[in-house]
């Protein structure tokens, strides 16, 4: 188990280096930040001095080596757009994105799993058909369109919920949270539904098909033959055995929720990392883009590691010692 973790960590380091290199080299060709930092009316001499000040005139490999050395120490330099340390910006934005992702993932799981079980058990009921049809919309509509629809209905027409922003936030020792104020909670509703809808439908469909699969197996038939209650059969035996793929997908989707909150955050002006990133792209703010990609890479690596470890706890077969397993 220790060897397995160390092996995974080493793989993670390699992944991170590759991500860092790709991030850095890609963004070197995105464009010239100088032309955006200065007004079009600036002189040629202004541009040159700015370029030198930013170190953009040095050779590529020198810039990259500096980047990695600083990145390891958590120093990604100064944002070209905001003129502040990138690490401070990311730390500032992280709570907003994580809270949004947490609520969206919770909605996806708490609604998705019961709906999946229901539609799996009652595959022919009309309600199941309604759920499946509606879920098709969740899968096929692009996120920004869902967001705009929700804004139109709940903010413009009904006027119940805010159309943008995070509401009032409270500082809990460096972590800004929106959970403690009414405006903060109201502001969470639309973006988290927008962000979580796709995952919700995905989990629902996954649980449903896994349930259908498991319900056909012998041990379920045997459990029924033993006269166990429906509840014990469906939840104690069937659902439990569908969870391995659900955990895998949920883990990966959690990474996706954090990484691809970009669109939701842009639509709702949610001041998280995604909004920071999209504005960095438009501004060719290389330090922010590079740091963001590295951070997202790191999040995926960590989530994958956690998911691998979770298998150990969910699936007893993986806990069997290798030597013993090979023995028979």
């Amino acid at each position: 188990m220790i060897a397995f973790i160390i092996q995974r960590l080493l793989q993670g380091v390699i992944v991170m280096l590759v991500v860092g290199f790709i991030a850095f080299s890609l963004f070197n060709f995105v464009g010239d930040p100088v032309s955006l930092m200065l007004p079009p009316e600036a002189t040629q001499a202004d541009r040159e001095s700015m370029r030198t000040a930013l170190g953009l005139d040095r050779p590529f490999y020198v810039q990259f080596a500096n980047f990695i050395l600083n990145a390891v120490q958590g120093n990604f330099g100064l944002s070209l757009r905001l003129g502040r340390p990138v690490s401070a910006l990311l730390v500032e934005r992280l709570p907003a994105t994580l809270e949004l992702a947490f609520v969206a993932a919770s909605i996806a799981l708490l609604v998705g799993i019961p709906l999946g079980v229901y539609t799996g058990l009652n595959r022919n009921s009309w309600l199941s058909r309604v759920f499946l049809t509606v879920s098709l919309i969740g899968v096929s509509l692009p996120t920004f369109l869902i967001g705009i629809f929700l804004i139109l209905i709940f903010a413009v027409w009904l006027g119940w919920l805010p159309s943008f922003g995070r509401g009032d936030t409270t500082m809990l020792g460096g972590w800004s949270t929106g959970f403690l104020t009414t405006t903060g909670l109201k502001a969470l509703i639309l973006p988290s539904i927008t962000l979580g809808l796709f995952q919700l439908t995905l989990i629902m469909r996954l649980v449903r098909s896994e349930m259908l699969e498991v319900l056909r197996t012998d041990y379920i038939k045997f459990a029924r033959a033993r006269g166990l209650t429906n509840r014990a059969v469906n939840f104690g035996h069937a659902l439990k055995n569908t969870l391995v793929p659900v955990i895998t997908i949920t883990g990966l989707q959690l990474g996706a929720i954090i990484a691809f909150a970009i669109i939701t955050e842009t639509v709702f002006q949610w001041p998280g990392m995604g909004l920071l990133f999209i504005q960095a792209v438009q501004f060719a703010d290389i330090p922010v883009m590079a740091a963001y990609l590295c951070l997202i890479g790191l999040i995926f690596v960590v989530i994958n590691l956690v998911v691998d470890l979770l298998y150990y706890f969910v699936d007893p077969r993986l806990r069997v010692d290798h030597s013993a397993a090979g023995g028979h």
Partner: protein
């Protein structure tokens, strides 16, 4: 003038009587697409920044509603000789932290704006040194006469010296230092509003400066106690926020939404003409077309071909279809409202395809030629480039619109990697013709002249006229010289002006806002009723 003064005094008296009522609190909720990058008044020469710093900080001179220069932090001035200006400062002005305003702050701010890290050196064009004479008198010594110094000085925002020294912010933002400057996120000016809170990409809160000198002087027209400025990136969300009543004012609604907003009874649209001209320019340096079919010679070097391009462009159709009505076709490189603009210099060749074809045939291109038109991928530039390409194709100039991401567009044209490009130029900063015309038409020199003459056009007549304009003090003569330059440019067509953009602002009905040609809302002239 006396009438205005009397009215102003009356207004002040009324406002003073109303003062208790103001305490109830009027909050303007303001939204724009982009967030401010810094509130340092000397760091960035960017619209997003000056929209905020213009409300926090003030200059020695400012502009009235007709955009004429008026006394502000300086009450009067004189010119002991052509190269010296003496300013007498307003007494009793207080900074946001309560410190009194004095000559030291002017000397300090001028030095800060002249520093190589500052992008606002243009605000002190030609100034060599600023010296304190006494507590309320300063002298500006010039290297050479600058007849329009006052226009430039409207952009020199005054910061409190003691405050900047205390917080280690004596220099504008230094990107080399890898740390943020205190003044980038905090402010201490003399403006009608002070900075209360600034969270990038979330909100920026301004509150009324209780000790603002303008209240007693009668220039305050505002009843606002607080302004909350929100960046909302997405066009649709910004529109939704206005419609749902979450914001009161949107400075940059998407033009395609304006028709819908007009139909809403709770919304008002205010339109203003920006002091900006969008134009096409040609590579007039190379002997071949860099991006096009002509390898042996550069067709654009023939003035008849440039005239054919001008005749082929239907600016009226661009106004109606591409700009959705938000532009005014123009024939001069400077817009009405810039000092020196004259109708005699605004000469637009009529849209005439037959004439364009005849001119092309005369120049030896009866079958036309191929060329690439470069433009940045921001709107409306990208759509205009597409429309222009289609219009030119109809007279035989087979044009490919090459839409380049904005971050790479400027470097591309700056290294002259273009045969034909679309650009716009805003002259609102100084509102004087020389600034724009020198940059666009003067022969490129190492001293920074002709900095955006990227087609490298050169004409000794233009250079001579510009040299005269630079130092000519007489307003009448300046207008004549400017007219001559515009007429020369219209005859030679190194650039073909298309239009002046109009800017719509959208606000709730109870907001009264004064439109300005620099697309900036000044809160001391804004009310909510």
């Amino acid at each position: 003038m006396p009438l205005r003064l009397a009215l102003a005094t009356l207004l002040a008296a009324v406002l003073a009587a109303l003062a208790p009522a103001l305490a109830s609190g009027k909050v303007l909720r303001y939204a724009s697409q982009d967030d401010v990058q810094t509130v340092d008044p000397h760091a960035a020469n960017l619209l997003t920044s000056s929209r905020v710093t213009g409300n926090l900080y003030e200059a020695l001179v400012w502009r009235d509603k007709d955009w004429k220069v008026i006394p502000w932090l300086a009450v009067r001035w004189s010119q002991p000789d052509a190269k010296t200006w003496r300013f007498h400062l307003r007494d009793g002005v207080k900074f946001h932290d309560g410190a009194p305003f004095s000559a030291d702050d002017v000397v300090f701010s001028a030095g800060r704006a002249l520093h190589p890290l500052s992008q606002m050196r243009i605000s002190l064009q030609g100034v060599e040194k600023v010296t304190k004479i006494d507590r309320l008198t300063v002298d500006f010594a010039l290297r050479e006469p600058n007849p329009v110094l006052l226009s430039h000085l409207t952009q020199l925002r005054i910061m409190n010296k003691a405050w900047a020294v205390k917080h280690g912010a004596t220099l504008p933002q230094d990107y080399k230092a890898r740390e943020d400057t205190y003044a980038a996120r905090h402010a201490n000016g003399t403006g009608a509003f002070r900075l209360k809170e600034y969270q990038p990409d979330v909100r920026l809160v301004l509150v009324a400066h209780a000790d603002w000198w303008g209240r007693a002087a009668g220039v305050n027209e505002s009843n606002l106690t607080e302004v909350v400025m929100r960046p909302i990136k997405s066009n649709a969300t910004r529109l939704a926020a206005l419609l749902s009543g979450e914001v009161d004012f949107v400075v940059d609604p998407a033009t395609q939404d304006v028709a819908r907003l007009r139909a809403d009874p709770g919304i008002r649209i205010a339109e203003s003409a920006e002091l900006r001209v969008q134009y096409l320019a040609f590579d007039l340096h190379r002997d071949e077309l860099l991006h096009g079919s002509e390898r042996r010679k550069n067709p654009f070097k023939d003035v008849r071909v440039r005239r054919a391009v001008a005749h082929a462009i239907d600016a009226e159709a661009i106004r109606a279809k591409v700009m959705r009505g938000f532009s005014k076709p123009i024939g001069a490189l400077i817009a009405p409202g810039i000092d020196g603009y004259s109708p005699e210099g605004d000469i637009r060749l009529p849209f005439d395809r037959a004439r364009a074809k005849a001119l092309l045939a005369e120049a030896g291109y009866p079958d036309g030629f191929e060329v690439t038109l470069d433009a940045g991928n921001i709107q409306p530039a990208a759509d205009i480039a597409q429309a222009v390409a289609a219009m030119l194709a109809q007279v035989g100039i087979r044009t490919r619109a090459n839409i380049v991401p904005q971050p790479t567009y400027f470097p591309k044209i700056e290294r002259y990697d273009t045969s034909f490009y679309l650009l716009s130029w805003g002259g609102g900063l100084t509102a004087d013709a020389y600034y724009t015309l020198q940059t666009l038409l003067h022969t490129r020199t190492a001293q920074g002249e002709g900095d955006f003459n990227l087609g490298r056009w050169t004409d000794p007549r233009a250079d001579a006229l510009l040299a005269r304009l630079r130092v000519e003090p007489d307003a009448g003569k300046r207008r004549e010289i400017t007219r001559d330059i515009l007429q020369l440019a219209a005859a030679e067509l190194p650039a073909v002006p298309i239009h002046q953009p109009l800017i719509p602002w959208a606000m709730r009905k109870n907001v009264s806002a004064q439109v300005t040609p620099v697309n900036t809302l000044y809160f001391y002239r804004t009310r909510i009723d």
